[in-house]
Amino acid sequence: MQRSLYIDPDKCTGCLQCEMACSYENEGVFNPSKSRIKVFTFHDEGRFVPYTCTQCDEAWCLHACPVEAITMNKSTGAMEVSESVCVGCKVCTIACPFGTVNYSQDTGKVVKCDLCGGDPKCASACPTSAITYVDADATGLDKMRAWAAKTDSANTAN
């Protein structure tokens, strides 16, 4: 079964546990500026929104890469960057419609979410289940359940 990150911004409190988990897993340091998942705060609206790569099936980044440094991990479905192949041309960062592939000045390569090889640390660090890792075929299940719970059974024809 392939799984996807599922993000429910309504549950996010803006604590940045996900950013620390991500940077620690990938860079060995607690450092939100190195995180591949970002929480955006819309102060005036009182909203916090975590955002990261959704692993497009027909990935713009993969197709744009001139050296085939980006490949799909067949077991997780993640588009992964091979550091040894990447030449840091940044074409993928332009191609990605969502801005979730970014260049790192420290390494001269691009970085993006790779689902931590199938155990995304952001999801396990999230204290409110705003970020979960669920069956890729059923990312809408919780939302459907929530709406289902709101239906009024008294109005059901019988």
Partner: protein
């Protein structure tokens, strides 16, 4: 580690910025943040110095766990001598700037001297420089934050600033970071403004690493996050209702002071409670509370994000207040609500916004307004002083007018900015000031919660609930239930809470974890992260050392046991209603035992024996 092992020393008189190595011997004894910042202040300043003069220093200090993934690990403290009390000031704040400073590679910033013109400090990782703030002086915190974010482009830049209240000399001005988190008490913002320092602007992209035992650390952090999640207070009460979960609880036990502490219960408590913040309002069907919010790394998320009813008189035709911002915490709601007799939720949310916008402490502000209202009702203050405003208990219009005046230091705002003690002295009724060492009480009546009387009387920064929150034991039964109406045994309870809290405040984590955690839950985390062996015993001993260091500073500043007292109202006038009816605070029974447990003289002085035992400076 995870100290960054570096201090930034900023001399505002000469305009120089220097890097120094952190004194690691002191870090081993005083941990970080509150303890370590105090150790530096004690070493470098005269406790008798003028708090608002160039000889006082202003220290921003993080703890070793600040910036790590330990739950709530984003705290910092501002340590200085208080202009409100003349005692040591140490105000703790969350938000994000503490972790950002650590991520830039600094444990601490020491500001000394005084700039000849307004400046702000810009820290970008290793590079720090003073920049002119002439264009920011006279601006609110919110305006300053906006202008600095526009100037520095990077939206991840974190900013702490003082507002117009601090500039105009309000003695309880705060340092506000991230728009609505505050190093709130004792006038630390007033000290900052006195140095012509408008703001601290920080961007750190280095991160925090060097964990001593990474595997043990990550396992321990995950385990302790789970403890917070499963606890009824930190896992349910605080996320759902914030600290405002307490409003109805404390009213029911008869310990919610009202009308400048004349009463010990408030009829309007329900209208300004955490539950009321969830009620949809008539005008737009939305509740006061939009969402809860977390500080850096916090898995509790007690913070409130609120709106004011657009049709409310306080914000009519003022669209700049129609969006979301930091909502009411319990202490603020009590001071500006129950203590002034105002039960208008929108009015106190508005004054809360103004406290953040222009940087002043809502507890001291609300309590000072309450004192002014009592003085007004006695005729000691008249409409001559208040531009015709009827300063009566229960008047939401009077309250919001007061907030606007203090924000800019206009008119009667100057008098209110003096704080309750000086205001009541000025108008001839010093007994009506509900303060200890010149700092206003928070939201617990010590006639109904006896341990809080001793807490207030002996707090090293004047009346304060955060130095030994015995409410946890006396009301909530954490870690074990004691009777709030009984004073026996409270001396030991207060000492234990004071020492443990001093350690918590020095690690870089939030004291609210202590609803679920004890030092037993913290020791494994700091021990896995930081060099040295960090046991429960060592943390407790460090806490006791820190407490005594602060006390010694106050003794040397001229304070004695005579300052460890409460207003007559709480010692002589019995509580009128509720479970505490007929009770006064038995401070005289608790205080001698407390001094004895501390090993101090009967006059409340730290002895040479204690200094030696705890390796304190002479």
């Amino acid at each position: 580690m995870t100290w960054a092992r570096k201090i930034l020393r900023v001399n505002l008189t000469s305009g120089t910025v220097k890097e120094e190595a952190l004194n690691m011997e002191w870090a081993a004894d005083y941990i970080g943040q509150r303890g370590l910042g105090t150790r530096y202040l004690v070493e470098e300043t005269d406790p008798k110095c003028d708090a608002l003069g160039p000889d006082n220093k202003l220290i921003f200090a993080t703890g070793p766990l600040t910036g790590t993934t330990v739950s709530t690990g984003g705290r910092y403290s501002v340590i200085t001598k208080s202009p409100l009390t003349g005692a040591i000031a140490c105000s703790n704040s969350g938000g994000f700037i503490g972790a950002e400073l650590k991520s830039a590679g600094w444990d601490m910033i020491i500001f000394e001297g005084k700039s000849s013109s307004p400046v702000y400090l810009h820290v970008q990782n290793e590079v720090a420089k003073l920049v002119s703030a002439e264009d920011l002086w006279g601006k609110s915190v919110w305006e300053t934050d906006k202008l600095l974010h526009e100037k520095h482009k990077d939206p991840q830049t974190r900013i702490a600033a003082v507002g117009r209240s601090a500039e105009s000399g309000c003695l309880y001005a705060a340092v506000i970071n991230d728009l609505h988190r505050a190093a709130g008490r004792s006038g630390v913002g007033t000290v900052m403004a006195s140095k012509n320092l408008k703001a601290l602007v920080v961007r750190g992209t280095r991160g925090v690493g060097n964990i001593k035992d990474p595997v043990r650390f990550m396992n321990s952090v995950a385990e302790q996050k789970q403890v917070l999640a499963e606890n009824a207070v930190t896992g349910q009460g605080l996320p759902a209702l914030g600290t405002q979960v307490l409003m109805n609880v404390i009213n029911e036990v008869g310990a919610l002071p009202s009308r400048n502490m004349q009463d010990n219960q408030f009829d309007g408590a329900g209208n300004i409670s955490g539950e009321a913040m969830l009620e949809p309002r008539a005008s737009d069907g939305k509740p006061n509370l939009t969402t809860n919010a977390a500080c850096f790394g916090c898995t509790i998320a007690c913070g409130r994000i609120s709106t004011i009813d657009k049709t409310h008189f306080s914000v009519e035709n003022k669209p700049e207040y129609w969006g979301n911002s930091g909502g009411l915490e319990y202490e603020a709601a009590w001071a500006m609500g129950a203590d002034t007799g105002v039960d208008d939720l929108d009015a106190i949310t508005y004054t809360n916004f103004v406290c953040n916008e222009d940087g002043f402490d809502p507890i001291s502000f609300g309590a000072t307004v309450a004192a002014a209202m009592e003085l007004f009702e006695l005729g000691a203050i008249t409409t001559d002083q208040t531009d015709g405003v009827e300063l009566k208990f229960g008047s939401a219009k009077a309250l919001t007018w007061c907030a606007d005046q203090v924000a800019t230091g206009a008119g009667f705002g100057r008098d209110l900015g003096l704080g309750s003690k000086r205001l009541c002295e000025k108008y001839g009724h010093p007994d009506l000031s509900m303060t200890v060492k010149g700092q206003e009480f928070p939201a617990y009546d010590p006639r109904g919660i006896q341990g809080m009387g001793l807490t207030y009387a002996t707090s090293n920064r004047g009346a304060c609930h955060l130095r030994s929150y015995t409410v946890a034991s006396e009301i909530l039964g954490i870690p074990e239930k004691t009777d709030p109406l009984v004073s026996e045994g409270k001396a030991g309870l207060v000492k234990a809470f004071q020492d443990a809290t001093a350690a918590v405040d020095s690690m870089g984590i939030c004291v609210f974890t202590t609803f679920a955690w004890t030092l037993d839950n913290m020791a494994p985390q700091i021990d896995a992260a930081c060099e040295g062996d960090w046991t429960v015993e060592r943390l407790g001993e460090a806490g006791e050392r820190i407490w005594n260091l602060e006390r010694d500073y106050n003794n040397k500043a001229g304070m004695t046991g005579a300052d460890d007292t409460l207003p007559k109202r709480l010692l002589k006038d019995a509580a009128k209603t509720g479970p505490a009816e007929g009770r006064v605070c038995d401070l005289d029974k608790m205080l001698p035992e407390y001094y004895e447990l501390r090993g101090w003289t009967s006059g409340g002085e730290v002895t040479d024996d204690i200094r030696q035992k705890l390796s304190l400076p002479a």
